[in-house]
């Protein structure tokens, strides 16, 4: 059962009626004044800077991949408002159970670009996030993370911790059984989990209309008895409000919630993907007008609080990010023993034998030289 004191936005933007929470429009005009979250100018500026940082880091990652200096990468371009709004609400003790397109939220939890780069350079140490509190590794097997988040939610509740769990999935992922099962468990167990669907309109090449016959994705919450809301994912203020409201609800022990962040994957699915195969330039241009950075900047400009030398900032970010990339790129330390070392608490004899035989082969190879 959904709690009676459901936050107003979840009532006012009922997904059954296909309503979408929006605070500013594409021009940065406030369209829903009473919903504008109370944020001081510094915080708004900080939000923009974080979104910009994610954008620049993303563009640089794509460029490193194109230069052949990095392997397959999953771009975030266009989805920064979601990541940063979540990141500004997620606390150190809260859990982040990522899919694989939430870089800004990972950064907010304290993950560094160096780690991200190391991961995409093909080193497991980059993807372990082992120095950051309460962040699970990236989940590539689609949808499986919904169950993990729910399980962590149960654990949090059982251990009476003041922690909220945040997890993400894409629009395609909502077709997987684990999506529905995870929400169902979360509904039954009333766990403090904020589920986000990043509806970026495509699962690689497949558009949302081929994933579901539902009117929207937030409406799927109804069947599981948890509150759901569709939010303009390119509107920072709407996303911020949604996360603030949802995290307060979850923290108060009232159960899980589902947020559909309606957005657009402006880039490719991965650097191996070519969107021109399945969508037109017109569509990309149209969605480009809703870009979260442009919108927030327009809002700040019209409000007279724009005080960022963007060119200077970009150039500072670029050199900082490049330094992190170079550090990751120069990290050549991947001892062969490492592939055996993390399989079990105590290495089984069988694995020790395989390791020893490999060592014998390596010394044979060395002697042959």
């Amino acid at each position: 059962m959904i709690q009676n004191d459901l936050p107003a936005i979840f009532r006012d933007f009922n997904p059954i009626e296909d309503k979408m929470l929006q605070v500013i429009d594409n021009e940065g005009n406030v369209v829903n004044k009473k919903l504008m979250p109370v944020l001081d100018d510094e915080t708004v500026t900080e939000a923009y800077k974080q979104m910009l940082y994610e954008r620049i880091a993303d563009e640089m990652a794509i460029s490193y991949q194109r230069q052949g200096r990095m392997y397959t990468y999953t771009p975030n371009i266009g989805q920064e408002a979601i990541h940063i709004a979540a990141g500004m609400n997620i606390r150190e003790e809260d859990w982040l159970v990522p899919a694989f397109r939430e870089m800004g939220t990972l950064l907010a939890k304290g993950v560094t670009m160096k780690e991200m780069f190391l991961f995409y350079l093909g080193n497991e140490h980059g993807g372990s996030f082992k120095d950051v509190r309460h962040v699970l590794p990236i989940a590539i097997s689609i949808g499986t993370q919904f169950h993990h988040a729910t399980g962590i939610g149960y654990s949090v509740k059982y251990r009476k911790k003041d922690e909220v769990v945040y997890t993400f999935i894409g629009d395609g992922g909502t077709s997987e059984g684990d999506f529905s099962e995870g929400l169902n468990f979360a509904g039954v167990w009333q766990v403090p989990v904020v589920f986000t669907i990043q509806n970026n309109q495509y699962a690689i090449s497949v558009p949302v209309k081929l994933q579901t016959n539902s009117i929207n994705l937030a409406v799927k919450s109804v069947a599981f008895g948890i509150p759901g809301i569709k939010v303009d994912g390119n509107d920072f203020f709407a996303m911020y409000l949604a996360y603030k409201t949802a995290s307060e609800y979850a923290r108060a022990g009232k159960g899980a919630l589902l947020i559909e962040a309606f957005t657009y994957r402006r880039g490719a699915h991965t650097t191996s993907d070519d969107p021109s195969k399945y969508r037109g330039k017109d569509e990309e241009t149209r969605w480009g007008l809703t870009d979260p950075l442009i919108r927030l900047r327009r809002y700040m400009q019209s409000k007279g609080i724009w005080d960022i030398d963007e060119e200077k900032l970009i150039s500072a970010y670029k050199s900082e990010i490049d330094a992190q990339f170079v550090e990751a790129e120069n990290n050549k330390s991947y001892p062969w023993q490492d592939i055996f070392g993390h399989m079990y608490t105590d290495m089984p004899d069988e694995l020790k034998r395989q390791k020893m035989e490999y060592e014998q082969f390596l010394s044979w190879k060395e002697n042959r030289r």
Partner: protein, 325 residues
């Protein structure tokens, strides 16, 4: 004849069968407009229409489960699962239903279904994109498991798989997809399922491999030849049913065998082949049959993968060790 990659050869096989048999449908994630992430189904939706070649929702269990429904009711579905690492949501359908329907219904319902997916490592991929799970499927009674190593074989085996009245797991070595080009007939032809191929005859040692490892073995065999060792190379082609006869004849002749495969060594196809060698050629053996296979570890990401994947060096080392035993 025409020069084809494995991608093109499989595409050509699908094209021939779609044209010939109206009961065939193809679906999966991104197989329609996009033509598959590896372009194996490229152009087929345009040619045969979206009711025969189409994108499905992103749900592997749904893809395979609905294919079973189609297969028992007059269609012959061919489904693509995008990568081997994403087959597991469908494992319940495959193991609990697809493989069992014929037996459960005492032959009333057959499941003429091909489940095809790329597998294997060596392409610097993210996690779940480098695994070789053939043993997991080969262990399930009721399935056939096929792995081609060349464009020509891929075409002939695919057509046979589609014509099989029982479900076939068709695993495509992604590392080979575009790495080899070969003259392949544009006409329809089939290759028998359950038959291995002697790629190269030799007298000193039998090397059994399949998929992407065939090429690596050929490189190792060139090294062995320089060392004066005569190697017989067998391409298994069909994991199940396994071709016992070809293994028997070869091992009885050479007295030595190594199995080369990317998968984890324990409880593997390599283990099975050694059982065959022991059962069929025990008194002929001059050295213990060995597995030259992946470790019992997770396939590492790109930086560590070079330690995991089987190099020609390592195959030659094992050939020499066996011959000198």
């Amino acid at each position: 004849m025409s020069v084809m990659t494995m991608v093109k050869a499989i595409n050509n096989a699908l094209d021939i069968k779609l044209d010939e048999d109206k009961s065939i449908v193809i679906y999966g994630e991104d197989v329609g407009v996009e033509g598959g992430v590896f372009r194996v189904t490229e152009g087929l939706q345009q040619k045969y229409g979206a009711d025969r070649v189409f994108d499905s929702p992103l749900a592997e269990s749904g893809i395979v489960g609905t294919a079973l429904g189609m297969a028992v009711s007059g269609l012959r579905p061919i489904v693509e699962l995008q990568f081997e690492g994403f087959t597991f949501p469908a494992f319940n359908q495959i193991l609990s239903n697809v493989s069992r329907m014929r037996n459960r219904s005492r032959g009333k319902y057959a499941v003429p279904l091909v489940i095809r997916f790329p597998y294997g490592g060596g392409v610097n991929a993210l996690e779940h994109h480098s695994d070789s799970p053939e043993a997991l499927f080969a262990h399930i009674p009721g399935l056939k498991v096929v792995i081609p190593s060349t464009p020509h074989d891929a075409k002939g085996l695919m057509i046979s798989a589609i014509e099989s009245n029982d479900p076939v797991i068709f695993m495509e070595p992604k590392r080979v997809y575009r790495a080899i080009k070969q003259e392949v007939s544009e006409e329809k032809f089939t290759l028998p399922l359950g038959k291995a191929k002697v790629v190269l005859e030799g007298t000193d040692i039998t090397v059994v491999a399949f998929g992407a490892m065939i090429r690596e073995c050929q490189k190792a065999i060139a090294m062995a030849r320089e060392a004066g060792i005569s190697v017989e190379l067998i391409d298994l082609r069909s994991i199940y049913p396994i071709d016992r006869e070809t293994i028997r004849n070869s091992v009885r002749k050479t007295g030595r065998m190594i199995v080369v495969a990317e998968a984890h060594e324990s409880f593997s196809v390599g283990s099975e082949l050694i059982a065959v060698a022991n059962e069929e050629a025990f008194l002929y053996l001059e050295a213990p049959p060995r597995r030259v296979m992946g470790f019992d570890t997770i396939v590492p990401l790109a930086q560590g993968e070079k330690y995991y994947i089987i190099s020609p060096d390592r195959i030659f080392y094992e050939i020499e060790k066996s011959v000198k035993f």
